[in-house]
């Protein structure tokens, strides 16, 4: 069965949030930008009217005001944007747990399995748009397709507040005429190379010879060919996995695939060491450990579990992660990537309760060792002193 993937893009995100909170500026050109009193103030986002007056993201505020003398510039309020982004994601998560954010204002959703409950892809896209408009007072445009690349092109195709479906049938009319630079991961340099090969549109790219593309651009050439033909197989990662500021985590893709758990132990120790440093800096303990892994067919999986008591202990957290992986994966396929993270934090001072089942004396020793290691590393350089087990993992980093 074909997948159904949405890409949602909040339109002029920062500017829309500010416009909502400033109804008095309705009908006026509005931009969000750095402090105009400071010379380096630049435009971060603008509304439609400012755009029509030629205001561009990234230009200096004084330049923008020259083009558009009535331009109103408000200071960015990132707390507000994070709040809106969070609320939008909460809406997405009511329709699927496969939500992969791309910055604050974009996300992919895989709703293949949600259609029986909520209707087909277009219906879900329209419902989500309406909810964002009604509940949050901003707008989104949504692309619907069977792969992430075309879904993203769809959300860009018609704005604001519109749904565009890209199917095998209308791909020729919608996708093929678009400039090749609209494609994800085609930067200026790649575009120049492609232009040199006579490839200007996505249609040109999809009809190009795959082997010649690989020769000219390496792996990227082959990838772009699959992009242009709607054959990109990459999956929408489960939201759960995603690293936001409520967790500390790292994921690695070692040069060689991992075939058994003993290769993963040292990796988890290395990653956890750094994570615990970050937790100590924030003065928190974690109550949950999560792992994520991707097999050689590039499927992501994630698992999480609670700890007996809040912890900042490298060994305890790393071993928990290893146990979790051992229980949930049988290495039927080798693993391409693995990651570990900690979450559900409590403030260290707030946690004084002793556990019945943990050896407090050993933990205290571990803690002293870890703090000492950290001090040494801070003074003499990162990785100056490491756990013996972490040395094994060097080959995999």
């Amino acid at each position: 069965m074909d997948r159904v993937i949405l890409h949602c893009d909040l339109n002029a995100f920062y500017a829309s949030c500010e416009a909502l909170y400033h109804p008095e500026y309705k009908g006026l050109p509005l931009a969000v930008g750095g402090d105009p009193a400071q010379r380096q103030g630049i435009i971060l986002a603008k509304n439609q009217l400012a755009k029509e007056a030629g205001v561009q993201t990234g230009e200096a505020i004084w330049q923008a005001k020259k083009k558009c003398p009535g331009l109103i510039v408000v200071l960015p309020d990132y707390e507000k944007y994070h709040m809106f982004s969070h609320r939008v994601r909460q809406i997405f998560l009511e329709y699927t747990d496969l939500v992969e954010p791309f910055g604050l204002d974009e996300a992919w959703l895989d709703v293949t399995g949600s259609q029986k409950l909520f209707g087909d892809g277009k219906t879900i896209a329209d419902t989500i748009r309406k909810r964002i408009r009604d509940e949050l007072g901003i707008t989104a445009s949504v692309g619907v397709s069977d792969n992430k690349i075309f879904a993203k092109l769809g959300s860009d195709y018609k704005k604001p507040d519109a749904t565009t479906c890209i199917t095998k049938q209308n791909k020729k009319q919608i996708v093929d005429p678009l400039p090749v630079s609209d494609l994800l991961n085609v930067g200026r340099a790649t575009a120049v190379t492609l232009h040199g090969m006579g490839i200007r549109t996505i249609g040109d790219l999809s009809n190009a010879d795959r082997t010649i593309l690989s020769k000219r651009l390496g792996k990227a050439g082959d990838m772009l060919w699959t992009y242009a033909n709607g054959l990109d197989p990459s999956e929408v990662r489960p939201y759960d996995y995603h690293e936001d500021n409520k967790s500390f985590g790292h994921t690695v893709t070692p040069p060689k695939d991992l075939t058994d758990i003993h290769q993963i132990r040292p990796i988890f120790y290395i990653l956890t060491q750094d994570i615990c440093c970050q937790m100590r800096a924030q003065n928190v303990l974690c109550r949950k450990v999560a792992i994520v892994y991707r097999d050689s067919k590039l499927r992501w999986q994630s698992r999480q579990c609670g700890l007996d008591r809040p912890s900042e202990n490298v060994k305890e957290i790393a071993e928990k992660g290893i146990g979790l992986l051992g229980k949930s994966y049988d290495f039927a396929l080798p693993l391409r990537s693995v990651g570990i993270r900690t979450m559900d934090f409590v403030k260290k001072e707030e946690h004084l309760q002793m556990s019945l089942f943990v050896d407090e004396v050993n933990k205290e020793k571990d803690h002293i060792i870890e703090c000492t290691m950290e001090t040494i590393n801070n003074r003499f350089g990162k990785d100056c002193i490491v756990r013996c087990i972490a040395l094994e993992g060097k080959d995999y980093e």
């Binding site: 909502l20 909170y21 709040m83 609320r87 408009r133 009604d134 509940e135 949050l136 007072g137 901003i138």
Partner: protein, 79 residues
């Protein structure tokens, strides 16, 4: 134009729901809320902001009362 923030007397139900009972205007005048017809998340395009919107009947007339998302302040939609 600024938001019309008001005082509100509300009941916190045992299940966590919030039921506004009375609006207290700036001059101290009290407007009892007859019924709440609908509760939903909504944006206020007129006053500017998002939150929980209570559709209230006050003296036989419909008014939107918002509990603002972040600051937990109440405002009445200007009509």
């Amino acid at each position: 134009m600024s938001k019309n923030y008001v005082g509100v007397l509300a009941l916190y139900e045992p299940n966590g729901d919030i039921r506004p009972l009375e609006i207290i205007w700036k001059d101290g005048y009290r407007y009892p809320i007859d019924t709440v017809k609908q509760v939903c998340s909504a944006a206020s395009l007129k006053s500017g902001g998002i939150g929980t919107r209570f559709t209230c009947v006050i003296r036989g007339q419909l008014r939107y009362l918002y509990l603002e998302e972040k600051q937990q302040r109440w405002f009445v939609e200007r009509l």
